[in-house]
């Protein structure tokens, strides 16, 4: 039914458009003045031509932003690290860092509270060198919409640091809207099937990498934690 409705509307519209000029010609007053009628088509063609020129001249940057600015690529180490415990969707999938914070740790204990809908992994790594402070980084693998990287629009978790307690919350739920222009279905039969394949669309993964001093005890009841050492 949902397909039939637009189709019937098109058919009615097309027939109306065709009959429109006949019906009006029967009466004495034309729908459009004669000169307007004559010049309508050339003007429309010119408009289409100009639109095409403008479209091709539009700067590429004005479209969906490529991952840049607040996120950056991370070191090879992390790739290796992630590769072990966090199998990525494709071998060369990018991992980005979209948050990096460090807080001074004054106690021996670190309280980790996870609130809200947060469900992603937290990796905890103890490091000798890291004394008196903790380092929090949030990683995200690429989100793709039709092969187009929209990772830059993914919001990192919200962190709050108070009294040696790290509160991790997910950002409020949000919606990402995109517009995509497709090849015309009617002529897809002549196009290379590989070339016209619909691009991949998938969600990336997120994780928090927490680096704490080596003797710090992490107190938490969150389950999705991996201790790297």
């Amino acid at each position: 039914m949902s397909i039939l409705l637009p189709f019937s509307i098109i058919i009615i519209l097309a027939i109306l458009a065709f009959w429109g000029y006949r019906v009006k010609s029967k009466g004495k007053k034309p729908l459009l003045p004669r000169t307007a009628q004559r010049s309508l088509f050339p003007i429309y063609c010119l408009l289409l031509f100009l639109a095409s020129v403008v479209v091709y001249a539009l700067p590429d940057e004005s479209f969906v932003h490529p991952p840049a600015g607040n996120i950056k690529e991370i070191s090879a180490e992390i790739y290796q690290l992630a590769g072990r415990i966090w199998p990525v969707n494709t071998p060369n999938q990018a991992i980005y860092e979209n948050l990096s914070e460090s807080y001074p740790l004054t106690a021996k204990e670190l309280k980790l509270v996870v609130a809200g809908d947060y469900q992603d992994m937290i990796w905890i790594e103890r490091q000798e060198a890291n004394q008196g402070q903790i380092q929090v980084k949030s990683y995200v693998t690429s989100y793709l919409v039709e092969d187009y990287d929209i990772t830059s629009q993914i919001k990192p978790p919200v962190l709050t640091w108070e009294d040696n307690t790290l509160l991790i919350k997910s950002p409020p739920k949000y919606t990402l809207k995109f517009v995509s222009f497709k090849n015309n279905f009617l002529t897809s039969q002549f196009k290379n099937p590989a070339g016209s394949k619909i691009g991949r669309t998938y969600f990336g993964k997120e994780a928090i990498h927490l680096v704490v001093p080596s003797e710090t005890e992490v107190l938490t009841d969150y389950r999705n934690i991996v201790y790297l050492n």
Binding site: I10, L58, K177, N184, Q189
Partner: protein, 242 residues
């Protein structure tokens, strides 16, 4: 014995010029513009979501405009066979052959112009969407299709429209023989589509599964030549301006 000598080609060309000037494209322009302006929702939409994010993608293409143009061309092809249109030819110099040949020329022109405008209406649509929506939500892939692809689209769509117009022309001619064909032809199509083996789908498949543009063009031109030849045969025996 004749005082004025003429030939088929010369008369056909003159008739073509007169008819081309008489074709109104305003209907087509309004049709395409209305679809572009009011069909802002796009052809389709899909989405995905997890706990944090809901993602929605709206798709745009010129398919609706192309289909509407096809129907417009079909109506025009049928109208071309009607008494009023034919009387216009026979008001001045004409025979049945030149009348049909100039119609074919007109339908070919209409197919090309219809394909050109409907394919390039996609460009206008892109521009409208670019300014109507936030740029940052437009996905760049195929926003600027390669020109070769556009050219391919124009040729393929023009062939499709021409095929439909040829069918419409033959249908219109049959209608001139008897109004009964208005029921017989749809009944025949429905009958073929309903049967044990769906012949109608096979028939469509003959065109829509062809992946080589050159072979497709061959099939379309052959079929339309057949339609037009049949139309001329029918028309050659018909009386005019009765």
């Amino acid at each position: 014995m004749f005082l004025t000598e003429t030939n088929v080609l010369a008369v056909t060309c003159k008739q073509y010029l007169v008819k081309l000037k008489a074709v109104s494209f305003s209907g087509l322009v309004i049709l395409q513009a209305v679809i572009l302006v009011f069909w802002t929702g796009g052809m389709g939409m899909y989405g995905a979501s997890n706990v944090l994010i809901s993602l929605s993608v709206r798709n745009y293409s010129s398919d609706i405009v192309i289909i509407a143009t096809m129907i417009w061309a079909l109506a025009l092809a049928i109208m071309q066979t009607k008494k009023q249109a034919k009387n216009m030819d026979f008001t001045l110099v004409s025979n049945r052959l030149t009348s049909c040949l100039s119609d074919i020329g007109i339908l070919a022109t209409i197919s090309f112009l219809g394909a050109l405008t409907s394919v390039f209406s996609g460009m206008l649509q892109r521009l409208l969407m670019y300014f109507a929506l936030e740029h940052s939500t437009i996905i760049n892939s195929s926003f600027k299709p390669p020109l070769a692809e556009l050219a391919l689209d124009v040729v393929a769509v023009a062939l499709y429209i021409f095929l439909i117009a040829a069918g419409g022309y033959l249908f219109g001619m049959l209608l001139e023989i008897s109004r009964l064909f208005a029921f017989l032809i749809p009944a025949l199509i429905l009958g073929l589509a309903r049967g044990q083996n769906n012949y109608f789908t096979d028939f469509l498949g003959f065109y829509i599964t062809e992946t080589s543009l050159l072979l497709f063009a061959g099939k379309v031109l052959l079929t339309s030549a057949l339609c037009f030849a049949l139309s001329i045969l029918i028309y050659n025996r018909m009386e005019v301006r009765r």
